[in-house]
């Protein structure tokens, strides 16, 4: 499962917080405006009440003026009456405009207006007319109480309108109070939720950033201290996981390159060791023949010797000089083989002849060894370099003799089949310990030979194998410690 990236999560969390805060403020603003509305409605109700009271007072003026005029016949009382009559339509308009938003109150206001108009039209105007002509009759009419009944009805209507308006105001105030309480609770809850979310968000950030960052820092310190095997868990949100993966990749790369370096270092040390071994071997291998050359030369120079001795010593000097030269050639051959600079002739040659010549050469070199040769009647034709192939056969024979210090039979066999010419050299000598066998063809490999004093450069088999392989052939051997060895080379048969 791919975890969503940390930035996405942070943005999402911020959006949620912003929405919550906005909602909280929205609710607060709404509740404030609700309170404003309630106050407006209250003020409106007050206006309605004032307008109603003004109308009531006009009706009272109307009534009092009428009563005063009828009872006293004094024209003075007609003034407030007439003024009230004049003002009534305007006041009614004011009231009706104020209650126009409330249909019930509007109906009440209209009914009140009708009642007042009826009172004026049907009672007060006729009564004033009557009072002008027959004051006594008018007074009787008042005493009869019709006017009072009418005005009582009107007053009731006023009371009804006022109490209804009060009820409206009270209801709206109560609703505003409820709403504002709800709004405050909601806003507080939202703010508490925001605070909680912020705390949780902080904890989440601490867990998802601070913790992995600390882990990364610890791992980096370990890495710096040299522990390249340290790795981070690759879970966690996107960026953290990317950081861990990048860190792990870096550590792996460091570890790999350190291993490479260590391997390279080991190879270098090994090569350095072999090189110093080479210097030791070369110096020793060169010194023994050199000792003969220098020693016999100084004898020849410093002593009177008869001709026979002189000749013998010169022969030794010649032989040892050649040995030195052959050793140097071996070293150079190895160098050239390693650099791929050795060139080979491609002549048609008979390996049988090569085997024969080398066997003769070596059988003269040791009195303790017998060299047996076994060759088929048919020739053993191969295509190659006669000198190099003679060098290889010679090397195998020389080894067979060197590594059987007790003497014995060295058997060299040449044979052929449809594809290959094979030459094997068998000895009955020391053999090679099994644990040393895999190094036999390695450069400067001496096995136990160095310790047991058998001379050699450890280059012969290296050179031999390279030469055989360069001819398209291969070399192999079988050996058992104490029982001797068989070394074989196989070369492609040259077509007749």
């Amino acid at each position: 499962m791919k975890s969503r990236s940390l930035s996405t999560r942070m943005i999402a969390a911020s959006v949620v917080l912003a929405v919550l805060v906005a909602a909280g403020f929205g609710i607060l603003i709404h509740s404030v405006s609700t309170l404003d509305e309630a106050r407006d409605r209250e003020a409106h109700s007050k206006d309605v009440t004032v307008a109603t009271v003004v109308l009531e007072k006009l009706v009272l003026d109307l009534e009092n003026g009428l009563r005063g005029f009828v009872l006293s016949s004094n024209q003075r009382f007609l003034q407030p009456l007439n003024r009230a009559r004049a003002q009534l339509p305007g006041r009614f308009r004011d009231l009706e405009r104020l209650v126009s938003t409330n249909p019930v109150q509007t109906r009440r206001a209209r009914s009140l207006r009708t009642k007042i108009n009826e009172y004026i039209r049907d009672y007060s105007v006729p009564l004033v007319d009557i009072a002008q002509d027959q004051p006594a009759a008018a007074r009787t009419a008042i005493a009869e109480g019709e006017g009072k009944i009418r005005t009582d009805t009107i007053r009731e209507s006023f009371a009804e309108l006022l109490s209804a308006e009060n009820a409206v105001a009270a209801a709206s105030a109560a609703s505003a109070r409820r709403q504002s309480q709800r709004a405050i609770i909601l806003a507080i809850s939202t703010l508490v939720a925001c605070a909680l979310l912020i705390v949780l968000f902080g904890l989440y950030l601490a867990r998802s950033i601070a913790k992995p960052v600390r882990a990364t820092a610890t791992a980096a310190s370990q890495l710096a201290a040299g522990d390249l095997s340290v790795r981070l868990a690759e879970d966690g949100p996107g960026e953290v996981s990317e950081l861990s993966k990048a860190f792990n990749a870096m550590a792996a790369e460091l570890e790999r390159s350190r291993k490479d370096l260590e391997t390279q270092n080991a190879r270098l040390r090994e090569s350095e060791r072999r090189k110093s071994e080479l210097v030791t071997i070369v110096s020793h291998e060169l010194r023994t023949p050199l000792a003969s050359v220098l020693g016999f030369t100084s004898l020849l120079l410093s002593r009177e010797l008869d001709q026979g001795d002189q000749r013998r010593y010169l022969e030794i000097i010649d032989l040892q000089g050649r040995r030195l030269s052959a050793l140097l050639n071996d070293f150079l051959d190895v160098e050239h083989l390693e650099e791929g600079r050795l060139e080979f002739a491609r002549q048609l040659i008979d390996m049988g002849t090569v085997v024969d010549e080398q066997a003769q050469l070596f059988s003269g070199q040791s009195t303790r060894h017998t060299v047996d040769v076994e060759l088929p009647e048919k020739p053993l034709p191969v295509r190659g370099d006669p000198n190099r192939l003679a060098q290889v056969v010679g090397n195998l024979l020389s080894n067979a003799i060197k590594y059987s210090p007790e003497g014995g039979i060295v058997k060299i066999v040449g044979e052929r089949d449809e594809q290959f010419v094979r030459v094997s050299v068998r000895d009955e000598g020391l053999g090679i310990r099994e644990d040393l066998q895999k190094g036999v063809f390695r450069k400067f490999f001496r096995g136990d030979a160095g310790a047991s004093g058998i001379p050699g450069s450890g280059l012969g088999l290296t050179i031999s194998r390279s030469v055989v392989e360069a001819h398209g052939g291969r070399m192999s051997f079988k050996s058992a410690a104490g029982k001797g060895s068989v070394f074989s080379l196989e070369l492609p048969l040259a077509p007749d």
Partner: protein, 126 residues
């Protein structure tokens, strides 16, 4: 040559030419015994009780240092002197501490060898 009174020298060297050279350089007047490996050297030393052993360190079968170690335990230093001769010049200290009288690096000078032989055999001059 009177072999009865002539001093006996055992030459332990695997290279035939060098054995011949040593023999010729030291000259007549000594009874030479030769060994071309370590085992033969020990055998011949026991048999002949030589006055001087010239010992190469690179020997087949038994290394020169092993031979030296064994001979030094078997033959009293006063009776048999041992001169180690080797191309391994860095083996000089090992050879001397194993009981060799002298160390001669290979290749050697004829005069140096004759002088050393004369010295260890207690002869003023050869």
């Amino acid at each position: 040559m009177q072999t009865g009174t002539a001093k006996k020298i055992l030459i332990c060297e695997d290279d035939e030419n060098l054995r011949q050279l040593i023999r010729v350089v030291i000259g007549d007047g000594y009874f030479f015994v030769e060994a071309d490996d370590g085992a033969a050297a020990i055998e011949l030393a026991r048999e002949h009780r030589p006055d001087l052993i010239i010992l190469d360190l690179m020997l087949p079968r038994l290394s020169g240092l092993e031979v030296l170690d064994r001979l030094r335990h078997e033959l009293p230093p006063g009776d048999t002197h041992i001169v180690v001769m080797s191309a391994w010049t860095h083996a000089e200290n090992a050879a001397l501490s194993a009981g060799a009288d002298r160390f001669v690096p290979k290749p050697f000078e004829a005069e140096e060898l004759t002088a050393i032989v004369a010295e260890v055999l207690g002869e003023a001059a050869a």
